[in-house]
Subunit: 290 residues, 2 copies
């Protein structure tokens, strides 16, 4: 007698215990047992065009070579970003339905842009603005992920396909816009990042040339980073790489303060790896039937 | 029947295979079977003063807190270093019995000091100099480990005991004095390290304050360094820490060139971890009966 048990393994175990030879097949009804959806999925699974397109998409992901090219104001960089547009990390969503931290970040960005004199006015103005998902503009940001026109954004390009992606600057831990904080300390740091840090690092990047993010991330992963909440290796490797060119390309005090920010912020690299992932995954998107 | 087998396990295995219960004791005659030395060791092992002193020595090793304090010329730093003294990594050994790489390093150091006009004259002078083990002067260096009076040395102190240790600067891979290379390129880099790099980094260290090497090494070990042939994490963390103070404390081009050296040399931290180990182990030495 040969026994094949499909599904619940509790039927196979007593037979095995009694010495029988049982083949256990791990299976459960697809899509929670919904026949109509299961049939749709079966059609997709059986369609050779889908399998080929999926393979092509994975191929593009594996072939991606994200390079860090630049750091410049979102207004000059992100396609379709209007003068009164704010990007966020959510799906399409109206101000009224946004959670507290995202509202806080939106209000802070309005203050940063000088579109309102105080937070109350900013919250009053917010629903009238063009609030859009960052993903629709090739952009990403952590948590609330708010990007406003004056903010500097990283420019990352997948060299294999030319796909571009953008992300804002990491502010460090503690009170930060991405968590919804919008006090004077948060806005002062965002202004410093835009006015001092970004021009200095931009000049350094121009002098250095593009940085191979795939190689840097691969090395950081070997050093214990996972490039989400552990970024100390990638941040230290980037800081070490930028340091000499930063000193030669930027005013002395701007270089020193920028290097001090890179020293204090162990999460700095996060936003860069997000843009690298965005460029990599967008490179694979749009393949018909995938 | 209970069986105890002492020594060769091949006697125990057939008994075990036959179902007997065998206790195997892993033992071999001490000191290769020399009874007189074995008796001496037995006396030491039985002596409670030795056990207590060994425990105290291990305690000091575990309690050590090596701190990086300074980087300055060996002549001003290492106690007992005469004007015509060269330190090396070997035991007490005369020039005639030194291996080729150590002779090459000694000759290079003589050229660096300006004690001879060429390498032939340097090799002629060498036997007349005061050549000493670096370990006798609280100092260490990798490979040939030659330290001459004009070379800058790291100053490391164990804060728990006040024990001081010194090491020279890492030159990077390729042609280097520590491997016995002594050509113009090697000497030019050693001069640059003494005249440009060391004063810049010294000024940065003074501005920064002492660096906790125990903490830095512990983090680097977690990041995949073993601090001998893999030093990229410790070097990057040190470079990131020094970068902002270096920019503020040193002339611009000296800061930029020093940061470029730290960027290119993945082995830079090695000599610092060697001095940290030297301070740690010397802190444990000299305990009577250990």
């Amino acid at each position: 007698m040969k026994i094949v048990n499909v599904g619940l393994s509790t039927f196979a175990e007593p037979l095995r215990a009694a010495g029988a030879d049982v083949l256990q097949v791990d299976w459960r009804p697809p899509v929670g047992g919904d026949p109509a959806t299961a049939l749709l999925i079966a059609h997709l699974a059986a369609d050779e065009r889908v399998a080929a397109a999926n393979a092509a998409a994975v191929e593009r992901i594996l072939a991606a070579r994200p390079m860090l090219l630049d750091l410049k104001p979102a207004a000059e960089t992100i396609p379709g970003l209007g003068a009164r547009t704010l990007l966020h990390a959510g799906p399409p969503i109206a101000w009224e339905r946004m959670c507290g931290p995202m509202r806080g970040a939106i209000a802070g960005a309005i203050m940063l842009e000088g579109w309102a004199p105080d937070l109350a006015a900013a919250e009053h103005l917010a629903p009238m603005l063009d609030l859009r998902p960052a993903h629709d503009h090739q952009s990403v940001g952590p948590m609330a992920g708010v990007i406003s026109p004056a903010m500097p954004v990283w420019v990352v390009r997948d060299e294999a396909t030319g796909t571009l992606a953008y992300s804002n600057l990491n502010e460090g831990l503690g009170r930060a816009l991405r968590y919804g904080a919008n006090g004077p300390d948060v806005l002062a740091r965002l202004r410093w990042l835009a006015e001092v840090f970004a021009p200095a690092v931009r000049a350094a990047l121009k002098k250095n040339g593009p940085i191979d993010l795939g190689a840097l991330i691969a090395q950081a992963l070997q050093m214990g980073d996972e490039c989400h909440n552990r970024n100390v290796a990638a941040t230290a490797l980037l800081a070490r790489k930028l340091a000499p060119v930063l000193v030669r390309a930027a005013p002395r005090e701007a270089a020193a303060a920028s290097l001090a920010f890179l020293e204090e912020n162990n999460h700095f690299f996060l936003n860069i790896s997000m843009a690298a992932c965005k460029a990599t995954m967008d490179a694979a998107s749009g393949a018909p039937a995938s």
